[in-house]
Symmetry: C2
Subunit: 415 residues, 2 copies
């Protein structure tokens, strides 16, 4: 079973939005054993959509489209699908009722004609009801192929994928088993790792694939397997991981899969019954933001002080001004003082602190762009590291966030 | 001039990463008058890459590839390109020197054979020197078409696009002029807006396109024009905007283009010489993080207290506990107290505060999931709003951040 994803919208082709829908859909399809052959982003243009549909039909068994289902003139996906399937649009009562209900509950205005028209659906389509919006999902079958059209609004699309598309595909097809394992490593580059594990990699069975995913100071190693026999896949995956792990023991952090490092940390802190706070300067709140993006974070996260100005380091975070004078604001000493203060003020077991210069220009401190000091206060004391993370603002901030999470994870894995 | 972008990597097709490279490239190409016809993401698979190259050659004048240039076995783009152009790989001295220099400066280890091999380049390629990494960019010409292969690591790719690809394309081709204007609106849905401006939209000249981009409580309206005559395009754009604006005056916030609302706010605060602080509960630091992602934010941003626990609201932010008892933690009164405290502690002119329940479950407060109270303290006083932002955690957080920026922007635009 192969799928192709087609995302439709001029906003993608002019770079105004990043298409995150296709990554979500690809992940969900992979989980149920459907490989994605290709992702294609095309304009809101009839001829182009028709051409992509034809090509996708040649390549794939399941074709999923997102976008172009809105009520406005630039949205032409529904009419184009009707043309592709030699079909006409007919009113669908259940869709109209859903729209009326949404309007009554949330919009509280009279339905306009363009919204009533959203209840027009090609007669050959099965409706996938969109509980969060007015554009219905649609499921077409042609010969042995399935075409699924979904709205481009991410949360509407996600709900339809999870509640309608995935269960329906699983019901309709006997699917192979796909398994991915991703190992988080840090400390070595991909070439260094590849040399070390070359023999292992060369001896992988044909149904397994291995990839290196370097990103800002870490390399993720992804091992994928796909076959009909689930038990065999699981056993072989275990075997290969067992062979690999001893060779990368010094750089291995944990398994990733669906879990980000923030989620792994959150789970561990919850198990330990410990709490966390942060004091952030150059990372500007991004560590706190990533922690609190995980639901349930209030169990272990107490809070953060983002001390972006000198005054706030002294008056809000209450760092001793003499430490700043003596060592300068970007220093391991100040980072440690920040971490200890965050730990104290928030009554937390652990506290992370960052201070540095993300660039693009030197700040008051005159520290080189890319210099970041990160400290971790633990129940047993405080320690810190100084890093040099390059000269690109976004990169420096993101690398610093990653480094901070690594320091913390290494520490809490000890217990 | 049409371009096609091909992003290569299994990690995209299994949904492990979101392809943000193509949006960046598309934006840069559009700026210089090159339209992107299609974006195609394909696997690290020789046959598939060859097929995509052929198709892209049929559709586009410029084909830009990213990914698959690393030193490891899963990276096959360079060999595949050599095959496509009936070419062989030869060592390139300047690339090898660049790699040696990077290793000496940053890696501080001996060069391994796989990295030395990265200096092998197809003989027909012009090298685009990658100052940030070991994989060189490559520029091929075939008949009147250009093929450009770039590394997939975002900051390496970005530097090559900005410093090498764009200048070289501009030098080599006479390019048409493309202009986009994006108007930020809030308060109405896309169908409501489209009804109101239907006549205007129907009368747009053929070389202009109009699109609605709804997102979490706002609709962005994008008007695009493309023609050889730059002056005509600029004049017509001005004329059409002048016709449109009076029809949407009550919902128009500002122009977007390359500027996010955070950047617009930062610019305005800098002009006014005013400063900002935040006190964040349910948004968990995301407002601070988005503000500090803008370089130069230290001019106007003082800091933030992320008070994710009740204790931290009382002890760190120093909210009067009786206000929380009386009105509950998710209330406009508590939001206003938080904003006033942030304003005071950080000695800021403006302070934004958020308190709410992002879900997925009800918290201590028992507030409905999606209830968010946002307050803004200004030099003249404090005010607040209560919102109901749905039942999806990420959506609630992001909508709350957007609402907070809207409140602030409306306020500072008054002066």
């Amino acid at each position: 079973m192969q799928a192709e994803i087609i995302t439709i919208g001029d906003e993608i082709l002019i770079g105004q939005i990043v298409d995150s829908n296709s990554a979500f859909i690809a992940k969900q399809l992979n989980k149920i054993g459907v490989s994605v052959y290709q992702i294609t982003s095309v304009q809101d243009d009839k001829a182009h959509i028709l051409k992509s549909l034809k090509e996708a039909e040649d390549n794939a068994d399941v074709i999923i489209l997102t976008g172009g289902l809105g009520p406005t003139k630039d949205d032409i996906t529904k009419n184009t699908l009707a043309e592709y399937f030699n079909d006409t649009l007919v009113p669908d009562t259940s869709v109209l009722e859903n729209i009326q209900e949404l309007w009554k509950k949330y919009i509280k205005q009279e339905l306009s004609q363009v919204n009533i028209d959203q209840a027009l659906v090609p007669s050959k389509a099965q409706v996938l009801m969109n509980r969060f919006g007015s554009a219905p999902g649609m499921w077409f079958e042609k010969d042995s192929k399935v075409f699924i059209s979904l709205p481009g609004v991410p949360f509407e699309m996600k709900a339809l994928i999870e509640n309608e598309v995935i269960p329906k595909l699983q019901k309709q097809y006997k699917l192979p088993f796909i398994l991915h394992k991703t190992l988080l490593t840090y400390g070595h580059g991909e070439s260094k790792i590849s040399e070390r594990i070359e023999v292992w990699e060369d001896n992988l069975p044909k149904f397994m694939k291995f990839a290196y995913l370097p990103s800002l100071g870490r390399v993720r190693l992804r091992l994928s397997a796909k076959a009909n026999d689930k038990e065999m896949v699981v056993a072989e995956m275990e075997k290969q991981i067992a062979l690999l792990l001893p060779q990368i023991q010094d750089i291995f952090v944990g398994f990733e899969e669906d879990h980000s490092i923030e989620a792994i940390i959150g789970k561990r802190l919850t198990e330990l019954g410990k709490t966390l706070a942060t004091a952030e300067s150059c990372t500007g709140g991004k560590i706190a933001e990533q922690i609190t993006a995980i639901s349930g974070a209030s169990t272990y996260f107490k809070g953060s002080i983002v001390s972006y100005s000198m005054q706030s380091k002294i008056e809000v975070l209450k760092i001793d001004a003499s430490i700043i004078d003596k060592y300068s604001v970007v220093s391991t000493q100040v980072a440690e003082a920040m971490a200890k203060q965050a730990q104290k003020l928030f009554k937390a077991d652990y506290a992370i602190a960052t201070t540095g210069n993300a660039g693009p220009t030197k700040g008051d401190d005159n520290a080189e762009v890319g210099t970041v000091c990160i400290a971790l206060a633990t129940p047993k004391g405080v320690f810190s590291e100084e890093y040099h993370l390059g000269n690109h603002r976004t990169k420096v901030i993101n690398k610093a966030v990653n480094k901070a999470f690594e320091l913390l994870q290494k520490e809490i894995l000890k217990y």
